[in-house]
């Protein structure tokens, strides 16, 4: 499965990474090299094989549904490029 230029632009949009027009060809080449490499997997017969969900034989632990942490919004926003009154500030999203 090879990707074309339109697909490269589409992946960029899905990944929220701006791909400029003059970058498309290079990305297309590189992605196709990698996709060509992983294509080998089609040789493997995986009939009846379960996909791995956990590399260690364990169930995901559960904990009590109680508050164990928090109460410091100023720390949460301390590294934000833009914040006000302990809120993250973003460009207007709703008119």
């Amino acid at each position: 499965m090879a990707v074309d230029a339109a697909t490269v632009k589409k992946i960029g949009r899905l990944a929220r990474i701006r791909i400029e027009d003059d970058e498309v060809a290079k990305y297309q080449d590189e992605l196709n090299v990698i996709l060509g490499f992983v294509e080998q997997l089609s040789e493997v017969n995986v009939e009846g094989v379960e996909p791995m969900t956990s590399v260690t034989p364990m169930r995901l632990r559960r904990r009590d549904d109680v508050v164990t942490d928090g109460g410091y919004p100023e720390k949460i926003v301390a590294n934000a490029p833009l914040s006000e009154d302990n809120f993250f500030m973003v460009p207007k999203v709703v008119e």
Binding site: L35, V46, P51, V55, M58, L60, N79, P91
Partner: protein, 494 residues
């Protein structure tokens, strides 16, 4: 007295306890060494000299009172991937510009609990994506090793290239590192140091910048097997804050180091004998087996039939998980923001400016393989192959194999700016061909320096163990270290 920075961690610990020197002196010597070397090697991206000196003073007070933890006063380097409270934590990426977390990772907390102190943050491939430490926003790390009669700069491997270079060049007594596909073991092999990736779940991932969560594990890089075992004992342990952390007792790994290999069965997987493998790697591998046999181990040929599919499966699973983990870098919560005409524009411009080329490539691959219509063909298929890879190892271990010996890397360190690797991303990925299976199966693996190539550069061997049997790896690696009996000190040129 010998230079303090050249002491092994074990020897430094002894000297501190015996008050032959103080933690303040040891720390001052390391800081001076960093100041001299770092402009050439670029191993540290941030040096925390004042905090280190203050911590050393506090350790000296404890040591004077006959107190202190098992690592009291030991100066370490910390990979930039570990969250360190109030200190530079950027995963060597532009997108985390200025990020100083409000929390401390569990692994570094454990080290500080045991008395260790931090000299600074170590360079790495951006978001741990790379095998040469050339994808760092802070520029490449240079390997302290050079080929005989050459002054060409070599890479230290990656992604933990800063960790490996700093340990090898005596810029810290030991370092933290992380390994997703070989990022501890490959740089250790390239620098003549010891690096272990523990079993998945042995060390907490909490507070470590995530790359591929089902593969990432923290571990140490050190100058000797014993030093690596001492560090492992401190960093390992159950952590309720990491849901994949395993609640299992942590042994005193250092106690296993001199246990020997008598009666052990060492597996030799025939699939690791790759076409075009250099003679010297083949010879080193045989030499390693001979050393283990001479100490009473039995060698057994085994088959791990799905080995060749580990790397292609990895290049689906790891980018898929990365594309999801790296979604959080959006210019809102931390780091870089590039303004745009609306919020989507801001996201796209921030991520385009903040991520380097390799990271963007992997996020895009990950996005593609997870996108509608391709998920089953790529991601689910790769996870099925992963089950088969793990099963291969289980069959070998169930047939009585205690550990598996393989080469650590297909070659010694290569040059900075290698044209072949730049032109073809897959060539760079092939560096991890011997190490990546271990991450896919969640097993422990150790790289130990075992010989040198024709140009005098270090070469490593890898031992792969059963889940949670790092002790056998330390014991077998020690036999190789002792039998090789080679001085893996680079000749200082920096």
């Amino acid at each position: 007295m010998t230079e303090l920075t050249k002491l092994s961690l074990a020897a430094a610990r002894k000297g501190l306890k015996a008050k032959d020197f103080s933690a303040t002196e040891l720390t001052a010597d390391y800081l001076a060494a960093i100041e001299r070397a770092n402009p050439k090697l670029n191993a540290y991206v941030a040096v925390t000299g004042q905090q280190a000196q203050a911590a050393a003073k506090a350790s000296d007070a404890k040591l004077a009172a006959g107190q202190g933890g098992p690592l009291e006063g030991i100066p370490l380097g910390i990979k930039d991937l570990f969250g360190t409270k109030g200190v530079h934590t950027q995963a060597a990426s532009h997108i985390l510009d200025g990020f100083e977390p409000e929390y401390e990772s569990t692994v570094t907390s454990n080290l500080f609990r045991d008395g260790a102190l931090m000299l600074g943050k170590l360079n790495m491939d951006e978001f741990a994506m790379g095998s040469s430490n050339e994808t760092s926003y802070y520029g490449p790390v240079v390997n302290p090793w050079r080929a005989q009669n050459s002054n060409a700069n070599l890479v230290p491997g990656g992604s933990s290239g800063g960790s490996a270079a700093a340990v090898s060049a005596w810029l810290c007594a030991g370092a933290t590192a992380t390994d997703t596909g070989g990022s501890i073991r490959q740089p250790a092999a390239f620098t003549g140091t010891v690096g272990i990736k523990p079993t998945y779940g042995r060390c907490s991932r909490w507070g470590i910048v995530a790359f591929a969560s089902s593969l990432d594990q923290a571990g140490p890089i050190a100058r000797t097997v014993e030093d690596a075992a001492i560090l492992m004992t401190s960093i390992a342990g159950f952590d309720p804050k990491d849901s994949t952390s395993v609640d299992i007792a942590v042994p005193d790994f250092a106690a296993a180091v001199e246990r020997g290999v008598k009666g052990l069965t060492i597996g030799v997987p025939r699939e690791y004998r790759m076409d075009g493998m250099p003679d010297e790697i083949e010879k080193l591998w045989q030499q390693g087996l001979d050393w283990l046999k001479a100490e009473g181990a039995t060698v057994k040929d085994i088959s791990l039939p799905h080995t060749k599919y580990a790397l292609p499966a990895y290049y689906i699973v790891a980018p898929a998980e990365a594309s999801s983990n790296l979604a959080r870098y959006d210019g809102v919560k931390y780091g870089l923001r590039v303004s745009g005409r609306d919020i989507t524009d801001m996201y796209e411009l921030t991520r385009a400016a903040g991520f380097g080329r390799e990271v963007k490539r992997r996020v895009m691959i990950g996005t593609y393989v997870l996108s509608a219509g391709y998920f089953d063909a790529y991601y689910v298929k790769a996870q099925r192959v992963r089950t088969l890879i793990k099963r291969d190892f289980e069959v070998a271990f169930n047939a009585g194999v205690d550990a598996i010996l393989t080469p650590a890397t297909p070659s010694a360190a290569f040059g900075v700016g290698d044209e072949d690797m730049k032109a073809d991303p897959v060539k760079m990925y092939l560096n991890d061909v011997f190490t990546v299976t271990v991450n896919m199966a969640g097993l422990p693996g150790i790289a130990v320096p075992a010989g040198k190539d024709a140009s005098g550069l270090p070469l490593g061997l890898q031992l792969i163990g059963k889940p949670f049997d790092e002790e056998t790896l330390f014991a077998a690696a020690r036999v190789i270290e002792r039998s090789a009996n080679i001085d893996f000190s680079p000749k200082p040129w920096w």
